[in-house]
């Protein structure tokens, strides 16, 4: 017979074991790897140094890639907020049959393979794609979008939108439908109702959506790889190159850890900033 205090550990053992094997163990290996050094003649050199980190910090190339990743992720997040929040609001106001129909449409990017989705965008944005055919047909010049950061942002927004719509939609569901009427009866305009009553109440949903979108965009690999091409290098594609083309595993590991660190830092700071401001207000 197992004592009561041990039962929880016993029950969660399979999950913990899986987590340890699939997440903690590779993470630990990557962590150790990042403190080693790579030599093109002999491969990974034994011993631990900070050389790789020094190399990254002193080379403007890496700063540029991290910078590009940051602003692509930020633009994606911002666009997702601007599109996703009104979208969730409109969705929550729809009637029964249409609501589920449009919800499925919004979720549809998640149901399609990332590769198919990325090639789909290549077809639309490419030199002879839908967009350029359209521009030509109305007598405008062709634009070069594919293999630019703009294309990456467009494709990322498409994929990330569900992660913004769902948390916002959830917080909208918790709203008392009479609250907007109450604000109207007190003389608020439609915009004031939105700005002063609805928006503050969905802010927590908006924030968690933004954090998810930012973190996923910053570590996105397939979209930057396929829509951004070789020219628009982002952190995740850089890691891939270091591991598989340069075979410089320690450098790839170090970049991966820096990405993780920056991501965690962004989340922590946002959470801290917003907690002080909204925790008391929203009672969380």
């Amino acid at each position: 017979m197992i004592s009561n205090t041990r039962t929880p550990y016993f029950l969660s053992a399979p999950a913990l074991g899986l987590f340890g094997l699939m997440v903690l163990f590779p993470f630990l290996l990557t962590f150790l790897l990042s403190f080693q050094r790579f030599d093109h003649q002999v491969g990974i050199v034994p011993g631990y140094t900070l050389d790789v980190y020094k190399h990254i910090l002193n080379d403007s190339f890496y700063w540029e890639v991290f910078g590009r990743t940051a602003w692509v992720s930020l633009s994606t997040t911002l666009l997702c907020v601007l599109i996703g929040a009104p979208e969730a609001y409109v969705l929550s106001r729809m009637r029964a049959p249409w609501r589920s129909f449009f919800l499925v449409i919004i979720l549809s990017p998640l149901l399609i393979s990332v590769v198919v989705r990325a090639f789909g965008w290549s077809l639309v944005l490419g030199p002879a794609g839908l967009l350029n055919s359209f521009l030509q047909s109305i007598g405008l010049d062709r634009v070069r979008i594919l293999y630019t950061p703009t294309a990456v942002v467009i494709a990322l927004v498409h994929v990330m939108l569900p992660f913004m719509v769902i948390p916002v939609w959830t917080s909208l569901q918790k709203l008392d439908p009479q609250i907007e009427n109450a604000a109207l009866s007190l003389g608020a305009s439609k915009f004031q109702v939105w700005w002063r009553v609805v928006l503050p109440q969905i802010t927590p949903g908006l924030l968690s959506g933004a954090l998810i979108v930012f973190a996923l965009s910053a570590s996105a690999f397939a979209i930057p790889g396929l829509v951004g091409g070789r020219r628009v290098k982002m952190v995740a594609t850089l890691i891939y190159d270091e591991y598989l083309h340069e075979l410089n595993w320690p450098l790839g590991a170090a970049i991966a850890l820096i990405l993780l660190l920056v991501n965690l830092l962004v989340m922590y700071v946002t959470q801290k900033m917003m907690e002080g401001r909204y925790a008391r207000r929203m009672g969380s």
Partner: protein, 355 residues
């Protein structure tokens, strides 16, 4: 239009597809009056309130406020104060911010605004809770915040949607008097929707009884209770006993040797009518009274201040209620005699009597 009517609803109707929620609603309200719309759920009382608030557009009819039509004004231009059943307080704002919201929307001078908010909070006895959030308040306190938020804008008309239904019985009673006190003090014309007849009777100047989207009767509470001439109103407002009778020359015949004297002629001799008498108008005969009807007590219920008896008689089952005077009640299955004053019988109106 009569210009002494402050708020007037004329021929107001609302249908959703084939369903008629409200038909031909006519009501004139004097300034400062407290009106209750009373009826079972689905009777159209909430629809009436939403039409007044402007959340729903009428299919036909007009609403006049102070002589001007507000029928097609959007809700945010009507300036009416509304207390919602769910209170609909802004959860992300403190009590003070909630109350202040309507004044901010009116761009009121901050000094005057703060002063006005403080005055109203003191009036509803919430000044000590001004900086709390709604979730930290009890049901009764939230109710008062909702009321304060609605009256602080000094609305021409205050609309209350089942304002007390979420409170427990004791608090509800206290809030009824509180609501009436504040309404009297401010003199705000008020319409309250309720399904609770005791609430409607206790605090209104007039009660509008509604059923199936139509007005059944509009009267002052006492008159409504004492002289309702429709079966629906007599059963919905209080309890009553229905008896069938045959019209005779100068009386109504209940049974072979039981007659009710009437002052005015009722109808053709020999025709059938329905009479109603309230349980508290029936009395158990004392030694000095003339017994009129022999009954056998079937059941008795103790209601604290009242005893309610269910009795069998040759006229069918009747309900009799007596004040609890501290004496022992009548025995169950005991045989007693009833007496009454013939004036307390009400003849139900003709179309109703046919039912």
């Amino acid at each position: 239009m009569n210009h002494t009517d402050y708020l007037s609803l004329q021929g107001l109707s609302k249908s959703y597809g084939k369903v008629t929620a409200l038909s031909d609603f006519n009501l004139s309200v004097a300034q400062g009056e407290f009106i209750s719309l009373l009826g079972p759920s689905g009777c159209g009382k909430t629809t009436t309130l939403q039409l007044l608030a402007g959340f729903v557009q009428p299919s036909a009819g007009d609403i006049f406020l102070n002589g001007k039509s507000i029928t097609h004004l959007p809700p945010n231009e009507r300036g009416l104060g509304i207390v919602f059943q769910s209170y609909a307080l802004f959860p992300h704002m403190t009590v003070r911010e909630n109350v202040s919201f309507g004044l901010e929307m009116r761009n009121m001078d901050p000094v005057e605004r703060i002063e006005r908010v403080n005055r109203i909070l003191a009036m509803v006895q919430l000044d000590a809770y001004a900086d709390r959030y709604p979730r930290d308040l009890s049901g009764g306190q939230r109710q008062r915040v909702a009321l304060a938020r609605a009256i602080v804008i000094e609305p021409p008309v205050l609309l209350l949607d089942e304002p007390l239904s979420n409170l427990d019985a004791k608090l509800r009673e206290a809030m009824q008097f509180e609501l009436r006190r504040i309404q009297r003090k401010l003199g705000t014309t008020t319409l309250m929707v309720t399904h609770d007849q005791a609430e409607a009777l206790s605090i209104s100047d007039r009660v509008v009884v509604m059923d199936s989207g139509r007005i059944q009767q509009i009267d002052a509470p006492h008159a409504l209770y004492e002289s309702s001439d429709s079966k629906f109103v007599s059963t919905f407002v209080g309890k009553t006993n229905f008896l069938s009778a045959t019209v005779r020359a100068r009386s109504l015949q209940l049974s072979t040797d039981l007659h009710v004297q009437t002052h005015e002629p009722i109808g053709h001799e020999g025709s059938k009518v329905t009479l109603s008498i309230r349980p508290e108008k029936l009395k158990f005969a004392q030694v000095s009274d003339t017994p009129k009807l022999k009954v056998q007590i079937k059941e008795r219920f103790f209601l604290g201040n009242l005893w309610l008896y269910r009795v069998d008689s040759e006229l069918g089952e009747l309900e009799v209620s007596c004040i609890n005077d501290g004496m022992a009640p009548k025995n169950e299955s005991g045989v007693e005699h009833l007496t009454w004053d013939d004036a307390h019988f009400k003849v139900m109106s003709a179309p109703e009597a046919l039912k």
